[in-house]
């Protein structure tokens, strides 16, 4: 197998596209450069902006202002006008200039320091005083991750609340249960959805728990010894601690991490990303359920009026949103693995093989989680249930469903459970137990309804009660400009 025309290909990549774009008057890089589809298609604007350079740069400037202000309070001779200058220039960020500087310095934080100094020349001498780059990068990253996690928690609350309504509605609606994707014993649709919600509540708790545990880096200096700050404060450790705590307080945290190398332990990333990965795992599981149920025709995701199912098969109505959840969950789970490997291979007080990797995976993991939650809510609020199909499926398996009851009653009446089991097994094998249609009236779903009620009362209600604040601003929370 050989391909022809190979020789001109590489050149083609290099030159033609630029020219074409020019001819086509395509000036925005949006279509002429690779764009991550989470940005262009799947995630919400809120999350996309949250991981922008602008947001990060503003946080850095805030952190430099906090540092100067708190150092000043504790006695470092910083002048009010220096702080004033920083505050006034805070939003004068010339990204092109930063990039130009970075080309020679090859250091992103120092380029921002220099660019900030240029627009706030009074403050230049004391900018970043005592700090190492990780002061701005790591503290800002924790702030970014915390806010992003809060957004995910809010979205997740809505997903759970929405499913809760369906559980209430369908708690007694009998449906065929499946193990091995073979008809098993009947369940109710509401009881089945409890399984999804239980997983999601657990995921919520896990991410919430990460937020409860996480502490920012604070100001620890080049190798975590706070040496530069000890110098600034004449070896007064109390003052150094106060600075550390004051900065954290400004960031909205109670306490900085007790010890660090140059950076926060990279384990903290793994906490966040593992929690997101576990969320993805639950959504993946439920997306498979949805796809199988849409196959059965029992439950369907929403379908737009003008939506085209297939470019070839015009009659198609595919579970493309559920499939997209499977797809993005897989992406998120693999993406999250990065954070553990990064932690596992760090060296001593820090090595920089974390940096480029984190720039991508922290953002893209949260963007994927955001997209998944957006898809989740779209599906859950538009679920379309087909009672006729459900009824039809139940009737087909009615005879099978009865056998467990027969075995129980037989044993209660003094028979051997084991012999009864074997009897049913042989009847099936020999074809005597046919899958003949039966009435769905008499189908027994055990305590499925009671369990669902119990679950709503004991698990879901208390959960939603605690999230009442989150559940008030849906239109602000959601908003993927999604396709």
């Amino acid at each position: 197998m050989k391909k022809t025309g190979k020789k001109t290909k590489v050149k083609a990549i290099k030159s033609n596209l630029k020219q074409r774009a020019k001819n086509m008057k395509l000036t925005s890089p949006e279509y002429t450069q690779y764009r991550n589809p989470l940005t262009s298609r799947y995630a919400s604007q809120a999350m996309i902006q949250h991981f922008s350079e602008l947001h990060r740069a503003l946080l850095w400037r805030d952190l430099w202002i906090y540092l100067a202000e708190e150092e000043k309070k504790l006695g470092v001779p910083i002048k009010p006008k220096q702080i004033q200058a920083m505050k006034e220039a805070r939003e004068e960020i010339d990204f092109e200039r930063v990039r130009e500087i970075e080309k020679s310095l090859k250091h992103d934080v120092m380029s921002h320091v220099k660019a900030f100094g240029e627009v706030a020349p009074e403050a230049e001498p004391i900018l970043h005083l005592g700090a190492t780059s990780a002061y701005v990068t790591d503290n800002a990253d924790v702030l970014i991750q915390r806010e992003a996690a809060e957004l995910i928690l809010s979205k997740l609350s809505f997903c759970i609340a929405e499913l809760g309504k369906r559980i209430e509605k369908w708690k007694a609606l009998k449906v065929t249960g499946f193990t091995h994707f073979q008809p098993a014993q009947p369940v109710t649709m509401g009881k089945r959805l409890c399984l999804w919600v239980q997983d999601l509540i657990w995921d919520f708790e896990e991410l919430q728990n990460v937020l409860n545990r996480v502490r920012p880096l604070g100001c620890k200096g080049a190798t975590g010894t706070q040496a530069s700050f000890m110098i600034l404060f004449q070896s007064d450790f109390k003052k150094v601690q106060k600075l550390d705590e004051a900065i954290c307080s400004r960031m909205g945290f109670k306490q900085p991490v007790a010890v660090s190398g140059q950076t926060l332990s990279r384990k903290v990333d793994a906490w966040f990303l593992n929690a997101l990965s576990n969320l993805a795992s639950s959504f993946s599981k439920l997306s498979y359920d949805l796809r199988l149920l849409q196959h059965l025709g029992e439950l369907r995701e929403p379908f737009g009026k003008k939506q085209v199912g297939s470019s070839a098969m015009a009659y198609k109505r595919n579970p493309i949103l559920a499939e997209r959840i499977t797809s993005l969950s897989r992406f998120l789970m693999n993406s999250a693995h990065n954070s553990s490997w990064t932690h596992a291979t760090q060296w001593l007080e820090r090595s920089l093989d974390d940096s480029a990797n984190r720039r991508i995976v922290l953002a893209e993991s949260f963007l994927a989680a955001d997209a998944i939650c957006e898809l989740g809510l779209r599906i859950f609020s538009g679920l379309d249930l087909d009672k006729t199909k459900i009824e039809d499926d139940l009737q087909k398996h009615a005879e099978l469903f009865e056998t467990e009851e027969r075995m129980m009653r037989g044993t209660l009446a003094g028979g051997s459970r084991q012999a009864l089991h074997e009897g049913i097994r042989q009847a099936t094998m020999s074809g005597k137990l046919k899958k003949k249609k039966g009435s769905s009236q008499s189908i027994f779903c055990g305590a499925a309804k009671e369990q669902a009620e119990n679950f709503l009362r004991m698990e879901l209600k208390p959960f939603l009660g605690k999230q009442s604040n989150r559940l008030k601003k849906k239109s602000q929370i959601f908003g993927a400009d999604a396709i």
Copy 2:
């Protein structure tokens, strides 16, 4: 590149080895079959036995006894002699017989039911009454994971306590700090070890948290609706719940899971294995530190008197234990991924594509964690520190270390931090700032010692205080017959 003699190879695999083993009178499968090296080399007997078929089979029988007893208490007509028979036959497990049965039934639980019935014939009719296989498999698995996790927590406590002693001892011992594995600012050895301990305490908390959250399956029946139990108890949901709770209480848990499909959510495995993976990640990180420090000659793992470093280079003294930690951590991290993928791809009330995978990865992940902790304690208790080498390294970098102080003092004296930074940078580039030897006396480690003391007081002491029970039975806890 082609190989010769290929044709006879496959046959060789098939026939020769058996014959040879016979000739060599090797009857034990230990050497003639593949054996997982965690079993044959690295893990402790306690953990190896814990994941044996015998342990699992005994737990299954216990669970069947619990079920019959509790059903009886709640009114199911089970006779005292039936329970008596089960109890008496509890330890009569003929594994060969089980296997023989399984060959025709192709169902492991049913084979054990049948084999148990054969040795306890009075109980046969009511054995496994109302239960599905997951009743024994999933409940036993949670018991196994809980005990295994407890063992890991105990081992981890000792590792942390051992490191705590070193922190105390070396809290003021100055050493070269490294970022990018280039000399950075100095730290103290004790302060560095705080980083390891902080990670390990966080891992401990995470695994502890899993134990706090986990609830067993209880008795939920074939598709989780408790239908069989509702039949046994004439649809009295209260009684069904009581049975569920009573069984859990017998297992030492307060409460069963609220809802389930046929099995417990596979997310629970992911909780355990992710926590172990995070532990592996911390040990991996510290094993890299150890290997780099042994390269420097500053810190060394223990080395046996007769130990051979290399079959070719007799003078070698390699950090093989630390390298083994890296190696097994990598294994554990990859192994743990299985649990998330398994959860993510389950279908509806359950699919069986979890089973074979779980049989391997649950056990091997805990065995690897066990081996890692054993290695950890061996290393931590035998750490060999070379003060001469440490001193020598410090002196080499003394001039570099001073520069941060110079920059701070210069700024305090009214200079521009940025200009001072650039001055030092240029001096280095031009070779004016040489790495000339300096005195280690004047080397300033910032608050490294104070931080270590603070860490011991505020973090480690309270932690160890809570683990006092665990810290009493070291000889019982450890015991890899390791090489």
Copy 3:
């Protein structure tokens, strides 16, 4: 949620089980220690023995004999009786003695050298002469991987051949095609199976290609410079090369690797394990297809006469073999990742963080691949097709199937493809296009049959032609004592 009775648990792990096993007269470690289920349940004896310590130890001794013989031929003063002694003692391997030695030496190869020297004392002075441990370990590992890969290739050939028969038989058998697991356009069952076979042939080629590329380490010495051999041969590089090549020739390879550190590049492991992982990926895909088709009832895996489908639902007939393939494929794919990470994190001339990891994952990856192929053949040779169910499903979708033809013919007749497509779409949405039953006679499967014939002729036949040797000894090749 707290558990009770915790305090006695850890002790229980430690002490009770041993006592119980004693009481139960269970002396074999088979049931009292963890055993990998690939060994106890799923893989073939051939593969299990292949990864035994005995097999490895015999290969090591062979390699020591090769070394001495070839050194002798090239002039090193080794005496015939020394070689004679080695050959005579070759199968005198006392594993207990080796282990005893290793306890003090902490070096596996040196322990085997010493134990070999004890049973062949004349040879002791020249044993392992010029070699480093990797000489035996890495060369033996390549031999083991090569033979194991050959076994997999043979098993895979049978799987492919078996599927080929089904393709021939079912090439014209119309079945419902599914995209998104929604009825799409019809295919034939034989054509569908071509997709499986195409993947498997590609996997075969890839593994074959690894075998074509792989070269053994040969004798390269402690850091790969062949220094020890240059000394033995007075810096005669030609002789050193001859030795290297002679050893490889004895191993059945044409050529050693050109350069190495202490060990072969760990990339070679990744070649083997990635190829196995790709095989697992294909089997995973087809196992999902099988499970979905068994749900539909169109195709079923074999089911034993006494087989029990479920311990609760006696009528169940589950695709447990296909599910087991999914399960083990997932395991294998995760296991294989280890090999890439190990390679990616090696240091300079070698670091030992490969060792413990490779001991597990090389063996277990091949064992899993073996088990998967065994399962594959079991399923493929017992496939049970239900024509009535297939026919029934076809008829249900007949009207949908016609629409593509309508659209094509409409366009040929001058209509707009786009308008016709929209017409069909609207008809479906409005319910005008009902899924009414149609005749399966007129259902058009395009060129499915012709494609299958073409595939058999152009791809499968030439493939099987080349594997004729492999396809002769089925009973020797297969043999998992499987459940």
Copy 4:
């Protein structure tokens, strides 16, 4: 640990940033949205554009033109002016219009069909005739992957050639060899680099082999049966095959894939991405070597004149490019895993859970590979070797290095290799064998130089000979606008 100020955070994400950006007159999304750093920082413009929507859209239009032209040639009544219309409108792509359509259709290919029809209304009725979406998506993806792979191969050739020069130069330059990162036996720097090149050549071969094996989808229709084309050509299979082949020929391939579902087997993605992952693994390994050698000071990556090593420690000269390789390699290896999992979980004729995942990982894997190669060449062409440091390190270990020679000569003189080994071992342990400085003159590197020469002659030269075309257009090939 609780954070304060939480309540306003989520709103902040949503609203403030947009307003700020407006105030700051930041109109480009470049800084106000997340941008993948591979696009904004690390990869070359050629590769970034290659994965743009524009490039893809142009390929789709080409494929529609090919289809119409080849159908026409084979007799489908398509008019010349219809084809003319398509060609003329080829570059009139209004992406905003496409997006608008997609919002209602929710189908990307159909939106492009409609938009193309709008600018080429004559062609509208026959656009996409007989095709399913995968006709454009999958064929374009193979074209994109092929060209991207060619670009990687070219970059890799330059990397290898550059390293070849260093091997030639340093083939006899003695350096300390390291196993376990402990001094082992000496090697030469050139010989060490051969290990890197050997890995990279193998990776080149593997990616080349993928290009040799890959075949495009061609035109197979909705479920791979070519039914629509059979209708267009009155069931003339020969004509259908001719169309399939003609399209492939237009794409520069000899042959389409023999069979397919709706899409090409997703295994093909895994071929490409596994090959890239293996490349990443090699670069990761060599980046670790580089970082360790820069620690030793023996070898250093290039460092810009104005480059800032650290924002806190102005004297720092860190291996940030090598660390970035480690970082991006880790990313690429994890990203590549997606392709295998996607393949492993596909269902029947296709499921759409591939789509969103592939949109991200195909592009980002190639972008990461591109960035890694760019970094590779930057480092390799600027390698800075410090002979003084190398010499100094050698001298420190001279006494250790001699021991292997002593052992060999002792054995040749009739001694026991084993006894000599133990003698050296004990001398080391007791401190008799001190690491005293020795002359580097007498240090013996075995055949390191001869091996390097051999490698250059037998492996590298033939390799570069075949790549002569690739090695001509460096400035066209490279060009990351990198920092």
